[in-house]
Symmetry: D2
Subunit: 267 residues, 4 copies
């Protein structure tokens, strides 16, 4: 489904499930609505699930850059208003977690709970350097090489050991699917995170918050996510062992356990 | 409630909740039914919760020693039969997890899922040595000294840093409550684990299994629990950061998230 | 050798080697000069090695309690003066590391380098609780039970897995050797650390400092020793894998590599 | 200095120091003799230090590919013979550690000790994937982009946080220095490691061996290096905290302590 935004852009979204609270899943930077296809069935047994592509992702419209990632917040508010969603559980992974923190800054009253997955409150020198590498890789405009240059930082060595075939297929899909427009949009998204800093938001968070980190995540290391959690009043922390930054995908059972469990256990 | 066992003993148990699957919580060695008082309300919103004291725990009858911890399995079967429980989710913490693994050996068909919390499949030299120390401490027949000699191995330094008052009160409760009969029973329970070895059971486990470990657990270290999980087909693993062996009590939100979430996410 | 101290007490010490800088090894709380017997040969090839029993340790005289662990500092100064040692490399393990930090407070000018091994700059609630347990254990006045109640906190599970026979022999030695006077002295030493706090000393340290931690140390965890190192200007940090608080004894090669290497590499 | 090899190629090498045992430092893949300039002074106080560029590194001659990394072993033997070095301490970092293991396979009798730094005995799927990315990056023939695409996998986030200026200068040096010939040689070296497997060598190692790993190394993780060490009889293991794969450069004091200390402590 598409929402025509007031400023002329459009957001692509899908909804699943007919009962329970609303939960929205906010995408990581390389993701789009179909990335969640293996999760929608089980999540929507418990929640009304909203998936959405940020502008410059998936089927949503493009957006002129440069911009900061906070720019997605009013789009989400417009979408929630359109769907009549007064308050929502918000799960954000990586880039989506950054947007969730920016959402908290202005609209915490619309959140029931917050689930922060493999995300840090501030971009470090290291993440900026990684981002620069990714932008160099994207500028090659070649899905297969982009995959070779970025994916080993995102998945764990364990996943490479166990799922090499899946990764090869994925590389092939990157090769076939990624277009010049996709790469340009990716670069805008990547640059929008370069000055991200929500450290000041952490102590203001009043909604129940789950911090979900992954043992082998080198982009948003577990150690630093635990430090973040100490600054959020009453955060609950869980760690997914033996997974990298793409933990939700490497260990889907652990991810679903944590997300569904955190909300259901508070009923 | 008491169940009069066929062999003349008795089991103390309590049930909570009126709908949903049955789940049984199996106690750690120093625990008894009231140890779960802060958990019953939230668990029983989703499940019919069964709490039970093993013989030599809480209000259940005493049992002549020496015995092995597998001895509790037929008691559980008798209790399940009595309550008309055909199959059950079984969550066992530490000693209770050992009993759960022994239960698996003979009655896996009565399990819907298995949740193994801070437990290892085999007792190491180190755990035997710890157990010997605990038995020395119990033989002093003095709750306050028993507390001083055993509890620092069970709770994390973080918990001592944050909850010293609670721990002091708990030591006082130990001092007032623990009787010579309790200490004798404790020693029998402790000795019943000295030769525990269920490593052969792990590869036979066919029910969905959650392995829940704790970062600072020195009795059943996270590293070794993760090795255990590799031997269980399709185990899901989560780790509770910044908690010791008593993780369920140090971080109750994380514990409830994992246990409730693991089962509900499989609905 | 004995040094008659000005106040009437006496210090037992031994020296090894005839050339090179002086290095002093300061004992952990349960140790005494003979604890280093397997190390003296290799260390004294490079250094003039000084071993010393604090008062209330080994063959040194007893001292009336209560006292703080800083009380050993003037004894060391008197010993250094007696031996004509103007400046020294100071290696302190655990309790000995605490004394080394107190030494730094007043006499840093007499140090060439500082090696802090399995020690923290401040006693936590957790260490105080452990210490209380140890004092309860010492009051039993029984070496074998004292061993059972304290040693599992000091050695790693790996060491228990690999060296059980050695540990059993050691327990036997405790049983035969430890006297009522030893236990009384141990309790005074233990209590002397209960309010230890040298956090203010860390930023004042100007001598080259090695911080040597152990992966499975539960008394002075590696994580916290690394935090300590951040507060010491120009500290160098190394970690001994798969060892507990008694790392120097569990992994003597790693210990000697780090201590000898830190000093020799600065030649 | 250059050694004219029997097959017509040439090896560039330098020697430092006039007394003590010989020690050879074997380069990581992107390194060359000048990479060690800050280390030669301190190492050569204790040892006669030999630095050498593998063929396809630094000033040594190029070599036609494809080849396996074992190909460097006879070159080393020829160099040792030329210099009259009967036996040597061999320190290899990363790629150099792989060559050291291959050297062990055939010429262990010429080793006094072995120091394996940030290296694994076998190339994993993950390392192969990383290598593919590096080869893609090298094929761009642009030092600045090559730096952006490879260096964040080699240095830790801590180093990026503390030494950003140094890294920027280094990127500039890459931009100015790296030639098409360098990139072609780099690709041959990278491919020569793609099927590296010396797991069978580990149990045959009889010379004293130090295994030096780094806490934040994502290419040759500490956890796996510790597993390697278990397969080497009598290996000694140390870990450098808070450093990535380039640990020797991120934490030079810790590196020198370990290497010099391991050998000197065995005198």
């Amino acid at each position: 489904m598409f929402l025509a935004l007031r400023d002329g852009g459009s957001l692509y979204y899908e909804t699943f499930g007919a009962k329970g609270d609303w939960i929205v899943f906010l995408n990581g930077i390389m993701m789009s609505v179909p990335s969640w296809k293996d999760f929608t069935g089980r999540v929507s047994k418990h929640f009304r699930l909203l998936l959405v592509d940020f502008r410059d992702q998936g089927q949503s419209s493009k957006r002129a850059g440069p911009y900061q990632c906070a720019v997605h917040v009013p789009d989400l508010v417009e979408l929630f208003d359109h769907l009549g969603i007064e308050s929502v559980h918000m799960m954000g992974v990586s880039y989506g977690g950054q947007v969730a923190l920016e959402f908290c800054r202005a609209h915490q009253n619309r959140l029931k709970t917050l689930e922060l997955v493999t995300v840090l409150p501030k971009v470090s020198n290291y993440l900026v350097a990684m981002g620069e590498g990714w932008e160099v890789a994207a500028a090659l405009n070649d899905g297969a090489r982009f995959f070779s240059l970025t994916i080993p930082s995102i998945y764990s060595d364990t996943f490479y050991a166990q799922r090499l075939e899946w990764l090869k297929n994925r590389q092939n899909a990157f090769r076939k699917t990624l277009t010049p427009e996709w790469f340009e949009a990716f670069i805008r998204l990547s640059q929008s995170a370069n000055r991200f800093d929500c450290e000041d938001v952490l102590p203001t968070i009043r909604v129940p918050t789950l911090v979900l980190c992954a043992e082998k995540d080198i982009l948003t290391p577990a150690k630093e996510m635990k430090e973040m959690a100490k600054l959020i009043p009453s955060a609950t922390v869980l760690e997914i062992p033996d997974a990298g930054h793409a933990a939700f995908l490497e260990k889907p059972e652990a991810f679903l356990t944590a997300i569904i469990g955190y909300i259901k256990s508070r009923d």
